[in-house]
């Protein structure tokens, strides 16, 4: 279908969960790296030729090792390493030589969703847009969000909620702003408003970071604006802003088109009202005949920024905060368990056959217990994910938490709404509530923490 898929699997934002050893793309969600959700989705839709862009060499090595071990023979993946801190736009700039298809589908590696990417691509093709963004309804934060993740992460999760302006048909994007960046008022361009005459501003939609770009336009923008760092913050708003006066872009667009047919299709939309008012504009075919020289006489050139709004029944979330991490873990084993790829037992949970449970230990519904994990007696696990080869003592309570691999938990611990990374050791009678524990950390016996992030350097 002449589409190329780029998965952006960078990011080190989620301190303390993410470390050098575990890049963000490999964070386990229900005991599978988060990247696998995107790759599975793409594979399922017959997209087998992918480019995965990872920030940093070491992370790239880790990711490519994982991909080649998991998806060998199934996917054809090129892993590209880009320097850290170049941003999403920079990452695409770095790999622009590898892009050769007509359109590029850019997917964020931390996306967990079941929206068919084909829908985005189809909307893109249908309108011959320069960019099409996938929007989904913003997740309603789970009940366990009481003061979680702390104020530290506030700054780190911008754009969680977007302010998005759409035309009445909900097909075109007129304005987009990250919710965190909007202080009090938003500024909407008068020209766009005048052209559309009616604008719908939504706060309940989230930009899911799945974009379809026209390659020529994307590369033009990236080349002409060297300072652009991020697709979301720079490129997309720029395209949206300039959609009624795309002096720079139209040349690129036209040179890319092979034949005056598609050119003319764009010429039809000379009237901005025609462009925006209704998609069912009868394409008036005299304009077909005009060709490139006909378009030269035009005063206004435009391009289209489209959106595809996912159905409310579809699950869509981004792992871009610690809160989101717990939420997604909960959802993937709970409401959206078709994503996890596990077959759930009659009790609505997944217990690996090699896991050993002590006597009187209960594992409630919506739980996942990885292989080789040992649990002592009288434990209780509710709505939690426990990784592989964990050793859990007796009388341990785990509620709404994520425990990664190789964690040792002493007797009598109580873990509530927390995230415990790999190789952590909890000694006896530790009580954790809404905490994050960095990999390899040792929590001393009897300590109690509430809403804290436990990391080595903090300890030192």
């Amino acid at each position: 279908m002449d589409f190329q898929v780029v998965v952006l699997a960078g990011g080190f934002s989620l301190v303390p969960l993410v470390s050098k050893e575990v890049p963000k793309a490999l964070l386990p969600v229900a005991n599978r790296p988060v990247l696998s959700y995107v790759l599975d989705l793409l594979e399922q839709k017959n997209l087998k030729d992918l480019i995965v862009v990872v920030e940093g060499e070491s992370a790239a090595l880790a990711v490519s090792a994982w991909i080649s071990s998991t998806y060998i023979d199934r996917l054809h993946v090129q892993v590209a390493a880009v320097p850290e801190d170049v941003g999403t736009a920079g990452a695409l700039r770095a790999i622009h030589r590898r892009l050769n298809a007509k359109d590029i589908l850019v997917v964020s590696g931390d996306l967990v969703c079941d929206v068919p990417p084909g829908a985005v691509a189809a909307a893109h093709r249908r309108h011959d847009a320069v960019v099409t963004a996938l929007l989904c309804s913003a997740p309603v934060s789970g009940p366990s969000d009481s003061g979680s993740s702390g104020a530290k992460d506030k700054a780190k999760k911008p754009g969680r909620y977007n302010i998005i302006a759409l035309d009445p048909t909900k097909q075109f994007l007129l304005h987009i702003a990250a919710g965190a960046e909007v202080e009090k008022d938003i500024r909407v361009q008068k020209s766009i408003l005048r052209a559309v005459s009616q604008m719908e501003i939504c706060a309940d939609l989230m930009d899911a970071h799945m974009y379809a770009f026209k390659r020529s336009v994307l590369l033009d923008v990236l080349n002409q604006n060297e300072t652009y760092q991020s697709l979301r913050r720079d490129v997309l708003p720029y395209l949206v802003r300039s959609q009624l006066r795309s002096e720079l872009l139209s040349n690129g667009v036209q040179s890319d088109e092979n034949g005056n047919g598609t050119d003319a299709m764009q010429n039809i939309k000379i009237l901005p009202s025609q462009l925006l008012a209704n998609a069912s504009t009868p394409s008036f075919h005299e304009l077909f005949a005009l060709g490139p020289d006909g378009s030269a006489s035009m005063t206004r050139k435009t391009h289209k920024c489209c959106v595809y709004i996912a159905n409310k029944s579809k699950y869509c979330a981004r792992l871009n905060s610690i809160q989101a991490f717990s939420d997604i873990n909960r959802d993937v084993v709970g409401d959206a368990n078709h994503l996890s790829g596990y077959s759930f037992s009659a009790h609505n949970n997944v217990i690996h056959p090699s896991a050993v449970l002590g006597s009187k230990t209960t594992v409630g519904p919506q739980c996942v217990l990885g292989d080789g994990s040992l649990m002592g007696d009288k434990c209780s696990v509710k709505k939690s994910v426990i990784g592989r080869h964990c050793r859990i003592g007796s009388n341990v309570k785990v509620v709404s938490s994520v425990i990664m691999d190789h964690v040792t938990i002493g007797d009598g611990c109580s873990i509530l709404g927390s995230v415990i990374c790999s190789n952590v050791q909890l000694q006896e009678r530790v009580v954790l509530k809404d905490c994050q524990v960095e990999a390899g950390f040792v929590v001393t016996a009897g300590s109690e923490y509430k809403a804290e992030s436990l990391a080595k350097n903090e300890k030192l």
Binding site: A122, R125, G259, S280, P282, S283, H285, F288
Partner: protein, 617 residues
């Protein structure tokens, strides 16, 4: 300039068929049908059968040929213009079983002529009784025979019509067979009711007796036919969607999953009626799986489906350009020939496009053009040359047959616009728009009345464009047509297709505009490019039509508060019918303007014959 024929009375059968439930008066004598049928139909109609049931006597002989020695001797074939498949397929099984029934009675009549036959006949169908008593039994057999005048007409039936007829008969027979075997026990219970159900029962025994072997052989033929169809991989353009077998087979082939809508309009069951929302979603989610479909074709299909591209010319051009794209990217696979392999590819694309939206007749013509071009390529030609030749052929088609044709039509039509004229247009037609712009450039003083109709309201865009050009306009809706027609001096209509009996097949509503204009003695000029002409004959807009999304008429655009019909699908006894096209009888059309000149509707066959072949060169 007034080639109109004698105006018909309101009892014109065509009008009756559009209205469908209107009571029927005596038919006009000016009808060009065999006299037999004029004597037959009034009594039938008098029993207020639905009009679909009127034709049976006409087909009496059509199915008879293999059965009755008497008729076979006459070597009579069905008359072209009364092709039953054209005429009366609203609910084919029911209809054709009726057809068969009359045939069977005819058989009985021929064998046991005399009073006994008459008696049986009166028992079988009360509808026929008056005729028989009037004409007397000995006359009846005579009546069965076609009048000699119909013979020349036989020659006129085109291949496609004959084929459609044949197929219709086949389906009817298959249906009748199934019905017969089921109900043969109850067959003796012949009742005097006009109910089609009981008629099915009635016809069962004779059919079993004498025509089963014939039917069997026919059936075999049918299977062969479907095999061929499968190979071609294109759903038959005139597929009857009330035939479950055909629908099942088509479903297996189809790329796009289509859910049939629940509240289907009974009369239009033979047309595809799908849930419109689901198609798009399915197509979208399959975006990357449809490897066989070229991206350009996919995009065009998607735009057809969503209505982004509408209008005959625009759709045709978009399709041809998508074909160009796909031909550019085409490479002949190893050990295959371009002239053999490319047509199958294109067939696949065409079937994909049909699933997105049924093709218009003009698009069918364009596809035929392309398909004729491919085998003509010399085998010595290299692949790149062959591709270049095809591309330039398509370009030429677009330029000459569509764009240039429009310019020529505009030049012709402008001569019919005088200063002070008030011109009426319904909907939005690209040719007519061009005519107006042309007239404006020539400095003619005129006013335009744009008549629009829901649900598409295409006239608004046209209005905006015309106003932008400085043409003074009046905008009104179809409801006000009789009011506005007083001021109008010319009516310009576009057309989706012009059929060889002069019928104009176009956007729904055009027929009523033409009729009102005719009543007001306003000339109706239909502007249509010659590539849209088709040799088919169509008398009503029921047999072949397209059904749009019924939700469109339930919704009022811009008025979200009007939602009385929001959950209409859950109302059991409500069906919404959103027809896309209608057929305007030639009597209401003063003139058809093509690039070959201005012709009366009666001369359409000339264009089809003289220039139809020319299309393919």
């Amino acid at each position: 300039m007034d080639p109109r024929r004698l105006p018909r009375t309101v009892t014109d059968p065509k009008v009756r068929h559009v209205g469908f439930f209107a009571p029927v008066g005596p038919p006009d004598e000016s009808m060009s049908s065999p006299p037999r049928q004029t004597t037959l139909s009034p009594p039938v109609a008098g029993y207020s059968l639905s009009p679909v049931m009127i034709p049976p006597p006409r087909h009496l002989s059509s199915d008879n040929a293999p059965l009755s020695p008497l008729i076979a001797a006459d070597s009579f074939l069905p008359v072209g213009s009364y092709n039953p498949s054209e005429f009366s397929s609203p609910s084919a099984t029911e209809d054709f079983s009726e057809d068969n029934f009359s045939k069977d009675t005819g058989w009985v009549l021929n064998e046991n002529s005399g009073k006994a036959a008459l008696k049986q006949n009166t028992h079988a169908a009360s509808g026929l009784t008056p005729v028989i008593t009037n004409e007397g039994p000995p006359m009846e057999a005579q009546k069965e025979q076609p009048p000699a005048s119909s013979k020349p007409k036989k020659e006129k039936t085109t291949k496609s019509e004959r084929r459609a007829l044949q197929e219709a008969q086949r389906t009817a027979k298959a249906a009748a067979n199934a019905g017969g075997s089921k109900k043969s026990a109850a067959a003796s219970a012949v009742v005097n009711s006009a109910n089609a159900n009981t008629k099915k029962v009635a016809k069962a025994p004779p059919r079993k007796k004498d025509s089963s072997s014939v039917a069997a052989s026919e059936k075999k033929g049918g299977d062969r036919q479907t095999d061929k169809d499968r190979k071609k991989d294109i759903p038959h353009p005139r597929m009857q969607f009330d035939d479950e077998d055909q629908v099942e087979k088509a479903k297996k082939r189809s790329v796009v999953k289509q859910t049939e809508s629940r509240n289907r309009v009974e009369l239009f069951r033979h047309l595809p009626q799908y849930e419109h929302g689901t198609q798009l979603l399915d197509l979208e989610s399959k975006f990357f799986q449809l490897d066989t479909v070229h991206p350009a074709i996919y995009a065009v299909g998607l735009r057809f489906l969503t209505g982004d591209i509408s209008g005959g010319n625009a759709r045709c051009i978009a399709m041809l350009q998508a074909f160009q794209e796909s031909i550019k990217d085409y490479f002949t696979p190893m050990e295959k020939e371009l002239t053999r392999d490319l047509p199958t590819k294109i067939n696949g694309y065409v079937s994909f496009l049909i699933q997105c939206r049924p093709l218009s007749i003009s698009m069918g013509n364009a596809i035929n053009f392309l398909k004729h071009k491919i085998p003509e390529l010399p085998s010595t030609m290299s692949e790149s040359e062959a591709k270049a030749s095809l591309l330039s052929d398509i370009d030429r088609f677009i330029n000459e047959k569509i764009i240039l044709a429009e310019k020529v039509i505009a030049r012709h039509a402008v001569t019919k616009i005088r200063d002070g004229d008030v011109l009426l247009i319904h909907g939005s037609s690209s040719v007519v728009e061009m005519i107006f712009l042309c007239a404006q450039e020539l400095g003619k003083q005129f006013r335009v009345v744009i008549v629009d109709s829901r649900p598409k309201l295409e006239g608004r865009m046209l209005l905006r464009r015309l106003l932008g050009k400085g043409i003074s306009c009046t905008y009104t809706h179809l409801n006000a047509i009789s009011y506005i027609m007083h001021e109008v001096t010319r009516v310009f209509l576009g057309a989706s297709s012009v059929l060889s009996n002069g019928t104009v097949y176009s956007r729904v509503g055009n027929a009523s505009v033409a009729m009102v204009a005719h009543q007001f003695h306003v000339p109706v000029l239909v502007c249509c490019e010659a590539y849209k002409f088709h040799k088919r004959v169509q008398l009503d807009s029921i047999c072949f039509n397209e059904l749009g999304d019924p939700d469109d008429i339930a919704r009022v655009s811009g008025k979200e508060d009007i939602k009385y019909l929001n959950d209409w699908a859950s109302i059991q006894n409500l069906q919404l019918l959103n027809l896309i096209y209608d057929a305007t009888p030639s009597d209401y059309i003063s003139m058809i303007i093509t690039e070959y000149g201005m012709i009366p509707p009666t001369s359409v066959p000339v264009i089809v014959q003289e220039y139809g072949e020319h299309l393919l060169i």
